[in-house]
């Protein structure tokens, strides 16, 4: 018997008791939808947490904190930092030392202390630093400033009090600022001016990822290290950028082997993935129970179908229908019910997921009395979840049709024909 003819049989059989078949499809759709929705919460939360984790970080970034020395950790010396550069698969290395001071642009002065990052700007650009406008500094007298730098400059009155309404609103690029670097002297308990530098602004950094962050810093070339810190360099903030996500583990491991204390966001994501994997398996298991309950409906429907059609089956067998053919028709029918249920359940799940993602943040905002994280997703349905759920639902549908299908093949012809033959 051809597959197309079997399908025709199945269609005819299903249309014989539309309401019962519809209710079974509905139960399967609900089971499948429940399975997808419950697991989608784990996928959504994982996605939200990872997005949040990566918002202002690079997955290929490895932070190097210190050098392990037995049970203690030593600050990184310049020689230790230089040694890192010999490791393979490093795309860039950001070595930042912090200075601070006041900045002035004509009659405008910085509202608070300006943070100055002393670093190699070329390496910073390679490490992923982006400019909103302008260009990278070409010499020591040029600088790039933070996105909110202009907002940090205000006029002062005669008593040197900042005038909050007199914020600098002119262009920055091409302007020359004076950065007066200061240092705290613990002996005199006073700020001491370390140096005064004229710098031309040539670029503005891009806006920070997080809305609440304000960036009013400026970058200084690493040639300022001597001028600002002398021979005793302060502890540097060292970040290594691997040349690909695949090499993060490799570079991290090599750094650890060389006794560096490192941390990468990839380590956290790996740990998170494991936790969420366990959570997803658990939730899929719980969701599968709903599918199993729906399968009772399929079993019941198919058993009733076999009972109702026993005479038809008997006639078919009497005229030469192979038991395998009979079984495949019934299995195809339970598969068809499962397939329709999966299709409806999946469409409903995508709709519900979109609805939940739209509805939950405002509810959370009300409950938490604050804004939930940006782009927060309560439910996410990746294609893998859809495929796994469809596979489970269809598998269970076919399994629940197997016993009734086997029963159909065992129908006794003479009994089915009420011994009329």
């Amino acid at each position: 018997m051809k597959f197309k003819d079997k399908l025709k049989f199945v269609r005819q059989n299903m249309s014989k008791n539309k309401s019962r078949v519809f209710m079974t499809i509905l139960a399967t759709a609900m089971g499948c939808s429940f399975l997808i929705m419950i697991a989608s919460v784990a996928f959504g939360l994982q996605q939200s947490l990872i997005d949040d984790l990566l918002q202002d970080r690079n997955i290929t970034e490895i932070q190097v904190h210190a050098l392990k020395n037995g049970d203690t950790y030593d600050n990184l010396k310049q020689a230790d930092i230089d040694a890192i550069q010999n490791i393979e698969h490093i795309k860039a290395m950001s070595v930042q030392r912090m200075s601070q001071g006041t900045t002035s642009l004509g009659e405008y002065q910085s509202l608070n202390n300006t943070q100055a990052i002393v670093s190699n700007f070329q390496q910073e650009m390679k490490a992923g630093l982006e400019l909103e406008e302008g260009r990278a500094p070409a010499n020591d007298n040029e600088t790039v400033v933070g996105y909110h730098f202009a907002k940090s400059l205000t006029k002062r009155d005669a008593n040197n009090v900042a005038l909050a309404n007199e914020i600098y609103n002119g262009k920055l690029i091409g302007e020359t600022i004076v950065f007066k670097a200061t240092e705290f002297n613990p002996d005199t308990n006073k700020e001491v001016v370390v140096g005064e530098f004229k710098l031309t602004i040539v670029g503005i950094l891009e806006k920070p990822d997080r809305e609440w962050m304000e960036s009013a810093l400026l970058y200084l070339s690493d040639n300022y290290n001597d001028k600002l810190f002398g021979e005793e360099l302060p502890q540097a903030n060292v970040k290594v950028i691997a040349d690909g996500a695949d090499n993060v583990v490799k570079v991290s491991n090599e750094l650890r082997e060389k006794n560096y204390s490192v941390y990468s966001v990839a380590d956290t994501i790996k740990e998170m993935d494991l936790v969420f994997l366990v959570m997803k398996i658990g939730l899929i298991f719980v969701g599968t129970i709903a599918v199993l309950i729906a399968s009772i409906g399929i079993y019941n429907t198919m058993t009733m179908a076999v009972t109702e059609r026993s005479q038809d089956i008997g006639i078919m067998k009497a005229i030469g229908a192979n038991p395998r053919t009979i079984r495949s028709i019934f299995l195809l029918e339970s598969f068809g019910i499962g397939l329709l249920g999966v299709m409806i359940g999946t469409i409903v799940s995508y709709g519900l997921s979109a609805l939940i993602n739209a509805a939950v943040p405002p509810i959370l905002a009300n409950v938490l009395d604050g804004k939930p994280p940006e782009n927060f997703m309560f439910s996410s349905i990746p294609i893998t979840l859809t495929l796994v759920s469809a596979g489970i639902s269809l598998g269970v549908a076919v399994l629940s049709g197997m016993r009734p299908a086997a029963r159909a093949t065992r129908i006794d012809v003479l009994r089915a024909l009420r011994r009329d033959i």
């Binding site: 018997m1 051809k2 003819d5 005819q12 014989k16 005479q311 038809d312 006639i315 078919m316 067998k317 009497a318 005229i319 030469g320 229908a321 192979n322 038991p323 395998r324 053919t325 012809v413 003479l414 024909l417 009329d420 033959i421």
Partner: protein, 237 residues
């Protein structure tokens, strides 16, 4: 064509654990030659239907040997029997046994569907046969919309659609009136002549039995040979 050798059959009756065997067939030997019409007559409960069920593969004999079309089918599995029936025999049932949700056309076409014949070829063969049997105009009718005689013709069409060399019929006129019965018997005889089909007909009706080249009588599970029959007829007029 059909060779039955020492066929015995007994039904199990009673509750499980307390069953008893009731013998129905007690050593039947029967040969039906190719192109022959053999009619088996007997009273209700004589075992004639059981014998036909064994020939059709619906029952397995308790003992004995069944050879049909040069094949020993005695221990065939259900699957083997399904294939064998499709390829070698048609069965005509007393109550027609048409599938109620299918039209006359679909009922007739069903064996071709099971055989995996292409739709165009199926349509050609089905319409030709329905035409030959004079029921083409009822092709789209459901069994409930047909008379007894028309339903039996659809049943015949379904059993002949795969051109089987053997046709088994159990009380084929049991549900027909005398006019339809006469037409039906003529149809069987013409099929036998034109297609050289071997016919084994079970009946209790003398008129049906009269179309056979040979008529055998079953009494109490035993097949009586013609000589014994005449003796029986003398003893029991």
């Amino acid at each position: 064509m059909i060779h039955l050798q020492q066929i015995e059959h007994a039904f199990k009756l009673g509750r499980k654990g307390n069953e008893r065997l009731v013998p129905v067939l007690k050593g039947i030997d029967l040969t039906v030659n190719k192109g022959e019409i053999v009619t088996l007559i007997g009273r209700s409960g004589s075992g004639k239907s059981t014998l036909l069920h064994i020939v059709g593969g619906f029952l397995r004999p308790t003992s004995g040997k069944v050879r049909i079309a040069d094949q020993d089918v005695t221990s065939y599995s259900e699957t083997q029997w399904a294939d064998f029936r499709r390829n070698h025999m048609g069965v005509v049932f007393q109550n027609f046994q048409l599938i109620p949700s299918m039209t006359a056309y679909e009922n007739t076409e069903l064996p071709l569907v099971l055989q995996g014949i292409a739709p165009n070829e199926r349509r050609r063969q089905t319409l030709t046969l329905l035409e030959q049997l004079g029921i083409a105009s009822y092709a789209d009718h459901y069994p409930s919309e047909l008379s007894g005689g028309q339903q039996q013709r659809v049943g015949i069409a379904r059993s002949l659609i795969l051109n089987p060399p053997i046709l088994l019929a159990d009380e084929p006129t049991g549900s027909l009136d005398s006019e339809n019965e006469a037409q039906f018997l003529q149809l069987l005889q013409s099929l036998n002549r034109e297609r050289n089909i071997t016919l084994l007909i079970i009946t209790h009706d003398d008129k049906v039995a009269s179309i056979g080249n040979r008529t055998m009588r079953i009494e109490d599970g035993l097949l009586l040979q013609p000589a014994e029959q005449s003796k029986l007829e003398v003893l029991q007029p």
